[in-house]
Amino acid sequence: MKKNGTFIISLILLFALKLSGLIAQEMNYDNCWKSQQYTTLLDTMLKVMIVPIEDTYKQHDFIQTFGCAYEEDDIEQNSIRAVYRAIIQSIRNRKVSLRDDLDKILESKPPRPDNLAREYSIYVNIPTQQEPKPARYEIKILDLEAVATIESEKAVWTRIVTRFAYKEDFNIAPIAEHTPSEFVNVMEQAQIILKGLERKKFSKLKKMIFIENEAIVFPRSIAELKFGDSMTLFDEVDSYKTYPGIYLGKGIFTCETPDDGVVICKFGEERLFQLRIDTNSFRRTTPHYAELNYQAPESILECIFLKFCHEKPTRLPYLGGIN
């Protein structure tokens, strides 16, 4: 009797273990933004952006901005992007424009978490009543750190301070704003969109990218598409029936379908649902993602795509013979 009891308990335990294993397997794609090891880059940024600018810098007319990057599979490239974003934010805050090729400057002396390239000097244009006035602009990298996040194991964030090299330039320049990072704001918005997509909340997404607004840009090909651009799909059999779609990145998009509701596809898979993309219909109604060069993290795109891929048909529908 006792033996039987032990056997049943061990069976239950075995079953529970097996079940938990299965659940764990499926949990990989259950919440794309959750990880036991890492946090999101957005959380990291929100934490570090609380750090106030040091008094010494404040007294010497420096302003503080932040940048981050996760797109590349390389810490050096991400460092360059992060510093670039922080400098561009500073330029925007100062309401001046770049005179130098910032990309080239950073590429020639790349900032890395482990090297000593921490100070740069560039030229900017200060808007005046007459011709814009060139001015030297000083950049100091105070923090540059590689962090493993959910977006990328090679993500990088940075904190920089910047000022005009000469007091007279500072005096004639417009009063600076103190936005720490617009890119982080865009990241936050995009994260809400991508999280909503995990629950297939398409109407919320349509509202967030203002799909019904007038288009400001008409991308001509998929190479020009950016996160949040919209498109129209039409029925292969009855081209009058149309469905909206929104581009996410790396050839992945989301759209409504005739019978399967909202789906997340890569280009070409719309034909599984008897749909075609009208390449004349690409539209951009919200400029922020393109302006700040936002790209949805590859790991998240992959996760969202794979989360629902089992629901799709494996073969194109038969539409009758073709001559």
Binding site: E269, S281, R315
Partner: protein, 420 residues
Amino acid sequence: MGKWFRWLWLFLFIAPFSSGWGQPINRILIPQMENYELDIQNTYREYQKIYYEKKSSLAELRAFEDIISIYVSQILEIYETLSLSGFGELETPRDIAARALIYRALIYLEKAPLNLEYFEKACYDYYRALAMFDNVDTIPAIFKRLPEPILVGAKEYNRLIDVIDHKGSELYAFGKVNLYLRNFKITTNLDIDNMEFVRIECPIDKKKYTYYSAGNLIKETFKKVLSNDGQSSTFLALPEGSYFIRPKTNNKASRHIFLSALYVRANQQHDYVVEPLVDWFIMYENPSTKKPRFTRSTTDNLSSIEGNGKNSKREDRKKSSNKSDAMEKLIVLSEITNSCLEKVDINLIFNIKDPWIRNKFTTTVAEVIYSQVETLNFHNCWSKWMLSWIIAKEVTQKFSPDTEVPTELIKLVYHCLKNI
């Protein structure tokens, strides 16, 4: 006098050399290509003879295939030399090269019922021949009149498209996939030798066409990508169906298969972009579909974005004004056809000099184009030239049945399709 004589002598001495130097390279190479083409035609004729009349062994047939392959490679080499040298017009050499490939495809098609692999081989040659005309506006060689008619079976043909139409319908069971690899970096972590290209088996597949070459072609393209600035391309001839690339070591349920899936429909062309994604890659199609311009307007655009397919404004309007809409489109198409008639030699399209007949002709062309544009063919046909051929055939059937489809009519339809 002596001075004049010296000049004359100098001229006579230099003239033959200067004409030799000035003689373009294509004047030597094109006749060579023409000779090879003649040899191919003769070999094709012999091949048919030994295949059907003498019932020769496979080894003999193989020998003929090898001979024809040598001629084809010679022609292709000369064509490459000419296109790289930049001497003169490329139209004639391109036509010869394309015809050579089609002849070899026809030979493969003869033997294909014995060995299904030959359908695939024929398809590669057929696609390669048509691809030579991808970026040019000239009519592909397949639609042009042959320098000399060829005898296939008991019938004589003047154009290769007529032979393909008669013997090569199996080619239409395949789809062409252009693969464009891009953005691959030196850090991209891929075990290329460990990849395998697999088809999702489906019981409804009628004939088991092969896709043997695809796997190796994909591997070669992946190997080239890193030495080629992260970009590389190739094309595949695949029977209709769904395919994916997976690592050999992983099990079948690997997530990789969903990212690298590609879907092929028969007689279509698909452009697939391949890009790295996290630690694998994603293959996605480059959509090329455009709704015909004459069906779009500002109001269409707005409703199409708002539409959900069930109650869009466009559909409501469709019900109420379907007929007038169709009439409007037909008028636009007739106008397009009329304007395109100037681009072709109308004397070679039936006898349409009489204004009434000409009017009837343009209406017929417009009607047939409209019927095709409104059906799947418009989105599914992989080349405008092929669709032009289908439309031209139908127009001929309606306008002058039992006559050969005029080449100028194919050109006319092509120009019309380009304008809508």
